[in-house]
Amino acid sequence: RNFLKKKRKSMWRRSPSFILDERRTSSSPPMADTTRAPFQNPDSISAYYQTRAAHHGVITSEWLSQAQAAVGGVSGDEHPISSLTDLGDGKSFNVIEEFNSWRKQPDLAEAVAAIRALAAVIRASEATTMMELEIELKKASDTLKSWDKTSISLTAGCDLFIRYVTRTSALEYEDFNSAKSRLLERAEKFGEISCKARRIIAMLSQDFIFDGCTILVHGLSRVVLEILKTAAQNNKLFRVLCTEGRPDGTGVLLSSELSKLDIPVKLLLDSAVAYSMDEVDMVFVGADGVVESGGIINMMGTYQIALVAHSMNKPVYVAAESYKFARLYPLDQKDMAPALRPIEFGIKIPTKVEVERSARDYTPPQYLTLLFTDLGVLSPSVVSDELIQLYL
């Protein structure tokens, strides 16, 4: 183990070809899975980022193992389904509460939580026709969406499911109940699909990670972590530069997670991106949402990194599940509902000083190279293609 580590360390100074030679000798796959102490949840305004921060504490090893279980076909957690049926029986039903209970689970993506909540609506529904059910669902999804306007994947998840329901109703079913159970089945499958999507993306991205490359990562994305983990398991030799990810320190989390996997990792200040871009071979980011133009909405700083990478001709890869595709089209940075969050500066800021508290920015498609999704590796312009086929 130490030997391997040493080799990894020495990699910093070595050429890729040399590493390729070395690779034959080092074959033991890195593995390190330990649970982490929960991360402190900052008091935030944007519910989406609140949840994300909450998840950061437990997101890592635990959900990875869960994800693995789900992918393996063995459902590691039965409780969602059981509790779902329990909740479904309640007469007075609140979508938002339902959603909140689901979103607490760190292994569930927001979109999945939304769809599970909508599934619960179907269970609780006393509708007798498809039309009624549809209207009820629409209402529920509207409440959900208006409850947290900052979450793109919530919106996208709701839209996706509603879309599915309307499409299903068009199908021929012998009776209403079978259609209903079909919908429920679908909703339950969704969580699985979302985990599977991560695996698919991780597999797709492997071709792009070559030995000896340096990857710059921004933010803590489950998909990106999955990609890096898979790459490490495939004995790829690479190193990772993590941005710090102020204010919630996502980079710090990610770097510690990567170090457990024995991946050489280096932390950067967010402002040191341009400084270190020279040695970077590719940039990997996740996405909160992929919008119709093919651009992404992601944690603050992504745009800046993409700009720097673009000007230095480094590829920018985005890893995002297809349920994050949203029918949004921001024209510029200000053309979105701002997701605010508090920022700690350590010292007291005079009240006259304004603080930019937006949690995310929009990266236009021309600065992105490729999107890794479960639909395949797409160029940004294809996103719109997929969205049109889905929603129209």
């Binding site: 996706l160 089209y329 053309d335 479960d374 639909l375 719109s384 049109i388 129209l392």
Partner: protein, 643 residues
Amino acid sequence: MESRRNPRAVVDPKVRQVGFFTSSQPDSSSSQLQQPDPISASASSPPVSTISPSGNSLSPVMIPPPRHNSSDAFPLRNAVVASAVSPSSFSYSSRRDFPDGSTTASPGRHSRGSFVKSSVPVASSLPGIGMDSMAAAKSSSVPASGLTTVSVVTMPPGLSEKASGMEVESDHKKNSKPLKEKTTKAERRAIQEAQRAAKAAAKVDGGKGPAVTSASVASTSAKAARPAKPTSQKNDVAVAAGAAEKKGGPSEKDRKKDAPHPRMQYDDESRVVKAKRRAVVKQTEAKNRVELFRHLPQYEHGTQLPDLETKFFQLDPMHPAVYKVGLQYLSGDISGGNARCIAMLHAFQEVVKDYSTPPEKNLNRDMTAKISSYVSFLIECRPLSISMGNAIRFVKNRIAKLPITLSESEAKAALQSDIERFINDKIIGADTVIVKHAVSKIRDGDVLLTYGSPTAVEMVLLHAHELRKKFRVLVVDSRPKLEGQLLLRRLIKRGINCTYTHINAISYIMHEVTKVFLGASSVLSNGTVYSRVGTACVAMVASAFRVPVLVCCEAYKFHERVQLDSICSNELGDPNAISKVHGREDINYLDGLTNNANLQFLNLMYDATPSDYISMIITDYGMVPPTSVPVIVREYQKEHLLV
């Protein structure tokens, strides 16, 4: 996401139709043509062509069906053409009396008109070996030049030549001849053109202009009006010959069938002459066209209208509603993509209403032919816009798809309601959706810039104002149309705060703009926006200032064509519009210069804006990036047809 993927796999797969494809409608036009009825074409009423003139048929939209080698059926091939241009033998002025026998659209087809020329000596049908003797005969009048020799070598021997005053017949017997020896009609035309041009040049040598222009004045025949261009003859010949060689002979049908149908190239004189003979509207070609744009039609404006008005009652085949719309296009009373399209569709509705199937004819085919003839009339009045092309394609498709079981009145009712639905859904309905989307992008405090007078944008602005959004509008305008003033008037009436400027000030004014809203005549597959000239300039400046450019365009205006520049397909406006300033007598610097050979006016109507400058296209399918236009075209083209 299986839900997304499955339908695509399960539902019958969509065939991606990339590039040119033949429309599925039956080959009605060619069957029309093959009625071998050459002699009956009466002298007094020239039959209106049943298919649109080759090139500028609803060109972009419809690829005509593969051509049949109908030539074999017509022994009269080339008679008309050859005699019409043979330079020496007849006077231009007498030419007008000839009945217009040609109903064909393309050089591959053969004119079926036969006309008796008793008074006019017709030279010959100009072929093969006869060429030598002809050239020799002409050499007295044609100055020695290399022009006529271009393709003499390739002339097939043994073609019949006749120089009698009787009906000319030249049968090509082409099937018996090897490929190589055949001259295409176009080639022969090229030679003739060359000779004619050379001759004209010789005639007018020295006192150039007068001779030719007087000839053109003397005859209303459009043919005569084509001016000799002493300066560029050589080029013309070279180009024509080159084109002819490329095109290959009429017998090479295979090659022709595969090739996409070319648009009418107005510098291809042979075709122009041909198209003109069929034309109802006798337009006078403008002189001194800019070299780069010679393939586009350019006419002297304002001269044909009275002429056409007098024809109103003689034009038997033309429906009055269509005629009216055509005149309105011609005079410019109806302009703007949607207005033109709706006017045309309403006229077609009238046509359908008044239609009754002639005995022993099929409604589907006969009506398609009728519509085609109307369309070619409309094209003569003003070139079609792409949106109109799409609408025509829709109408024809509906006609073709009419179930044979329907009675005539049922079919007519179905057609009328289909057209009505197209207008309501694809044009009016689309606009309301566009407005809904576009308004969501207008925020308080915005400064919106618009150029010209796009109807969709106007609706957006008015609706945003109704929603009490606080914004300011910058109307940018340009000569000569000054459409922006109309828009300005309507906006101010509603109490919207406006600024008016001309496009010259665009770079200065752009820094205060937050969004640019533009209209479009069409959006092409590569995201290129084809719109009123000047739009590209506005979009470019806006993108240089990093101001988002939003284009409002109904999806029925989308087209699968790809265009990289605004040269190959465009429309030329009245050159007088830019040479004169109305109401300003003091600005008369160009008076008396309009016919100067060294001066060319270029009044372009449209330009192409590359997709790089477009941030978003707002259409009835939502807000999409310009890269998604082909997706919409692909996914909905069929739906368009099947509405």
